[in-house]
Symmetry: C2
Subunit: 316 residues, 2 copies
């Protein structure tokens, strides 16, 4: 889902709507986090919806509709990962021109659903003049503390990242270079292309972060700089970066501004406890990238201001 940051495009519409509507009861979270937290049947249920539009989120000259379907599922499941939840059910609404091969699109959706350990339980199909896929995902919280919101970080918390970023953006650059070249494409870059076409939500990492005491968490969907900004704003803290881990083959700009890596960035007081939780889950330790500060306007890296990069989908 989308964050609520007033004054800009889609976020402004959501913010205006949010302020006209009734707010959630105690224990629920509605508009403004990665997923909604709902009371249904006694225990908290996570629910999110995410939209992928050809020409906005995906260029069908560079990927198949199966890739578009996979990416839409991964993006929505990642919202559940960013709460520390386990994704359970997936519903898919898909539309496209009559020439769209819906069986191929469904194949990509089904593969992504299986790869993330979920189940496809329903959906809807329609004609449309362009390909649109909307994925809704349910999730549950299993054991330990409740869902990790964006808003719980406090000054002094460490900032951690589940892995280097920028691979997806570098994969897009690789595909564009291949498409623009009349020569036979150079080999290499397959891992980057795979990161772009077939990203994976970090469900195990999100759960380990929650069990390890994460105070706030968000997935890197709009770019590390932008998403860290969302987390800091929701928590009312600033941040000071010590390092920006760049995926092999990517640039620093791609690491800071490239979206759709779906690594998770989170805040936590005790790095040792986090590392132990990751080890208990058989995961490599997350990377410490900085700290939360008491000055909400601070967005620094190595003494300089973090460049404003990253994107807002649509309506700009």
């Amino acid at each position: 889902m989308t964050a609520g940051v007033p004054g800009r495009g889609e976020f402004a519409v959501i913010e205006r709507l949010k302020h006209r509507l009734p707010g959630p009861p105690e224990g629920e979270v509605w508009i403004g986090d990665d997923a909604a937290v709902l009371g249904l049947g006694g225990s908290p249920v996570l629910l999110t919806t995410d939209m992928a539009v050809a020409g906005v989120h995906a260029d069908l000259a560079l990927m198949g509709v199966d890739d578009l379907g996979w990416r839409a599922v991964a993006a929505a499941v990642s919202d559940i990962a960013a709460m520390g939840g386990r994704a359970v059910h997936v519903l898919v609404a898909a539309a496209g021109p009559p020439t769209t091969d819906l069986d191929v699109l469904s194949e990509g959706v089904a593969e992504a659903v299986a790869a993330h350990g979920c189940r496809l339980v329903g959906g809807d199909l329609s004609n449309a003049s362009e390909v649109v896929v909307v994925v809704s995902v349910t999730g549950v919280i299993e054991g330990g503390p409740g869902p990790v919101l964006r808003s719980g970080a406090v000054p002094g918390d460490h900032l951690l990242l589940t892995g280097p970023v920028g691979a997806s953006a570098a994969g897009l650059r690789t595909l564009r270079a291949r498409a623009a070249s009349s020569r036979r494409p150079e080999s290499g870059g397959e891992a980057l292309v795979e990161a772009f076409l077939r990203p994976r939500a970090r469900l195990a990492e999100g759960e380990a972060a929650r069990l390890g005491g994460a105070t706030a968490m968000i997935d890197v969907s709009d770019g590390l700089a932008a998403d860290l900004g969302h987390l800091a704003e929701a928590s009312g803290v600033g941040f000071r970066l010590e390092q920006v881990p760049v995926a092999p083959g990517a640039t620093v700009e791609e690491a800071l501004g490239g979206g759709e890596d779906y690594e998770l960035v989170f805040a936590a007081a005790d790095v040792g406890r986090v590392t132990a939780a990751f080890a208990a889950a058989g995961l490599a330790p997350p990377l410490v990238i900085g700290t939360c500060t008491a000055e909400p306007s601070e967005r620094s890296w190595d003494g300089r201001e973090v460049p404003k990069v990253g994107w807002e989908h649509g309506w700009a």
Copy 2:
């Protein structure tokens, strides 16, 4: 959501997908009914997703984007009503060209959510070359028997309808006639236009039908003839109609073939028990329109075959 009827357009894609995927555990219902029935947090949760595309499901020359938003919410909530559930949470993914007034669209969505006693808990927005709205709704079952599927009718069951049908299709006809006329529009038809632009899901009626012993239920979204056909096919029964209740101002063809009335049609063994449950909820009694028969191919009305009318959205 959509039914699974092999061999035609969108239904064929869903059917092929369904047969390649794992099926639900005991007590859950996935692809193929109005809404999915899911085990989440102990008690059954209903979940559905429904897509409205301008130019396919709605003509923006005849309605505003607020109407489109309202109709998308009503259509999805109606899937919960058709299970006998109470609709609880709504998520909306909306896209459109930059000229789309998203505040107006949101207004229609928010009004419909409030009118159906639900809460808007999240969503996503994007650019797209045409207006697309996807609504996902959660629901719960409160007291009495479990959710009413399409598949439980048996020969001898009565068929009941919560109200006359065809008003929505007649409202569309009225709007088209006004648009085609160069003269000042004639008065009248406001109730029909309202039925088309601002339909209401029959949540109270669906719950009363469930409490009154409904064995199978579906909402009239594709037309009475088509939707009765879906119910009969899922249940493995035929049907014999005694009457087709036509809304004032509508034609018999509109009553049989017009979708989007969102009245509910259901099967039940005991009309007296159904009527008592409707009376207990302060509702007028539903209309007995026929009976289920043992011959699955029977689709009769007054000794003749029910004409094949109604529509399949998209991909035809």
